[in-house]
Amino acid sequence: MVDAPDVQPHEPAARYTDSAGKYLVIYLCILILAALQFVIAYTHVGTEGMFARMLLVAIAEAGLALMFFMHLWAEKRGFLLFVLIITIFVLLAMQYGWTDSNRMNTGAPFSQPNSGVVSP
């Protein structure tokens, strides 16, 4: 058995040395984006258009929270890519069901039109 070499202390990539003012600015940006979602809810657009707008705003909010509140931006780029690539891949892989959902909505070929019930 070989002894492990001395463990060298290392500095973590994200050090939480940002000013409180910077955190406050990010917080206000997220708060404004959250308010924007409520404004969008009262605009006269269709459900699909509203969904797309809200999704974009939510992604922007989540991006700010991930990068600055969770300090992903201050981590090593390799770790940033590791988290983002896995997460985005999983999220994209979940989109396979939409074709079936739309099939139920339009009623073809094996479902009752607009009832959401699949025929035997």
Binding site: Q8, D18, Y23, Q95, G116
Partner: protein, 207 residues
């Protein structure tokens, strides 16, 4: 590198150097892996909800006021800021400040949970259950209570973690890194809410 370098006697370089992958400590890496897995869980729930909503014609729109959910959002977002200030204070060695901000964060979490429960009780009072409601398909109650319930469970777990870690940090058993790991979880709970609000509440706003 020869074969002998890869045996237990001669570890491959990097295996025993003590430097963690990406310079991220083990606890932090563990919470990030949990966050990725949990993000997949919530995404699965939201995609399934979208699937049902898209494929069901008589989907109800029972929400007539955004006041409660707006207050809940404000409370949760603000608690993320106080958590951030707590971790920052801990990293700077300000133990009392870190403990105070962490407890304020926990209070924010408790307030959010109470507002959430109040909203649930109001909906239940209007006749909504997991499988029935007066407005349309019963699938709405199932998906609403499942998604918001899962989030509320995370908030409850987060509050317990904040209290436990905060008290133990103050007692000297935990350090700033432990507070940072708890903070990452709390920010994630906040992040999930950013998607729950528009899709579960605002898209179902009655007109």
């Amino acid at each position: 590198m020869s074969q002998v370098d890869l045996t237990m006697e001669g570890h491959a370089p990097g295996l025993v150097t003590g430097i963690p992958p990406f310079s991220v400590p083990a606890k932090k890496m563990a919470i990030w892996l949990f966050i990725i897995a949990d993000a997949a869980t919530f995404a699965g729930c939201l995609v399934a909800y979208g699937f049902l909503r898209n494929g069901t014609p008589d989907w109800p729109r029972p929400f007539h006021s955004i006041v409660n959910v707006a207050i809940m959002t404000f409370v949760l977002l603000t608690s993320s800021l106080t958590m951030l200030l707590g971790v920052r204070a801990a990293k700077a060695g300000d133990k009392v400040g870190a403990f105070r901000w962490t407890m304020i964060t926990a209070v924010g979490g408790i307030l959010f949970a109470l507002l959430h429960i109040r909203e649930w009780l109001a909906l239940i009072g209007e006749g909504m259950t997991m499988f029935h409601n007066p407005w349309g398909t019963g699938l709405f109650g199932a998906s609403f209570f499942s998604i918001t319930g899962l989030h509320l469970l995370h908030v409850t777990g987060g509050v317990i973690a904040l209290l436990a870690v905060g008290i133990r940090y103050m007692g000297g058993r935990y350090n700033a890194d432990d507070l940072e790991v708890t903070g990452l979880y709390w920010h994630f709970v906040d992040l999930v809410w950013m998607f729950v609000v528009p899709f579960v509440y605002l898209l179902n706003l009655g007109r």
